[in-house]
Symmetry: C2
């Protein structure tokens, strides 16, 4: 069970600029400022404002690192910031993760216990094994072994990123990738 195969069924649904309704467009314009793009720092402010309003979700705040991973994952244009469509795509994903988080917080504690997290990750499309779960708990849980909302999102976004990297490198779908030291550092230090 430790080495069971791992997999991810991720829906790659992107929202285009044209798909965005007027309300969301107005919100984006207000948040993005003059450059009409949302940076990791701006994203952190937005995320923290939203979770601060909710008493049903525990978090000690989004770190800049988490927000950078979110921006990287969505940043198809590669400019390090999110345009309207990219932000709308991220927004949809965050709403989805929020729903999964709430649904699987069965004791309404505001955080995920380790068993709750396993079901939640399955719901999010990830088939993982014991080794990986233990690694994720060790890295993302608080000292009491629970996972709060910002860590939950950080973990899912990073997982998604790493599945994406593997899939890109394994273009011929051999199930394995070969990396030299430079490539290894480029991906492992993300």
């Amino acid at each position: 069970p430790c080495d069971d195969p791992v997999n991810a069924e991720l829906d790659d649904e992107t929202v285009s600029d044209d798909d965005v309704d007027a309300g969301f467009r107005g919100l984006f314009t207000k948040l993005a400022g003059d450059d009409m793009e949302i940076s990791a720092v701006e994203l952190r402010t937005i995320m923290n404002k939203i979770v601060a309003k909710r008493s049903d979700i525990k978090t000690d705040g989004f770190s800049l690192e988490t927000c950078r991973i979110m921006v990287n994952l969505m940043d198809d244009s590669g400019n390090g910031k999110l345009g309207l469509g990219e932000f709308a795509t991220l927004w949809k994903k965050v709403q989805r993760y929020l729903g999964i988080y709430k649904k699987n917080d069965t004791d309404d504690s505001g955080t995920m216990s380790t068993p709750e997290m396993r079901v939640a990750f399955k719901d999010a499309g990830f088939t993982l094994n014991n080794n990986i779960y233990q690694l994720l708990v060790a890295r993302y849980s608080d000292p009491d072994m629970t996972i709060d909302f910002d860590n939950f999102v950080a973990c899912l976004m990073r997982l998604e990123m790493m599945f994406k990297v593997f899939k890109t490198l394994d273009a011929h779908e051999n199930g394995s990738i070969e990396l030299d030291l430079n490539q290894w550092l480029n991906f492992a230090m993300i």
Copy 2:
């Protein structure tokens, strides 16, 4: 220059329990508590106490993630905590990094600018290329592009960890490693 070869000359000097002098042993006993081991949470408290006393080094505090990486890197026994010798080895490394940080903060700003960081990393034994430097700055710098002490240490410790992982996997020194998805996730999610 972007794809120049990367390398690390790391001294693997470990301090054994017997090498530790009485003063350090006393300090360790006080810090480690009943289990005589230092966890990532305890390490964070220790690191933050030390940097809080220094006005010449800027930091917004060590994150639990940084402290986890430090523990992982030093934890030869694999129990997720640091014993006396492991902690003494880490301590030596932190002192070394502190010296390199101070020496290369040529404008005494308390933080590293991007060019200062490049020299500092070279001093620490890392030969990197432009791509990797840009990646590290993007991930570890504050919005004003400077790197404070906790991020400096986090970055060096993670780099060292990733060089170590590569070296372990490339046992025959082919210069490249092959990973399946499970292995990839195990290392990339560290």
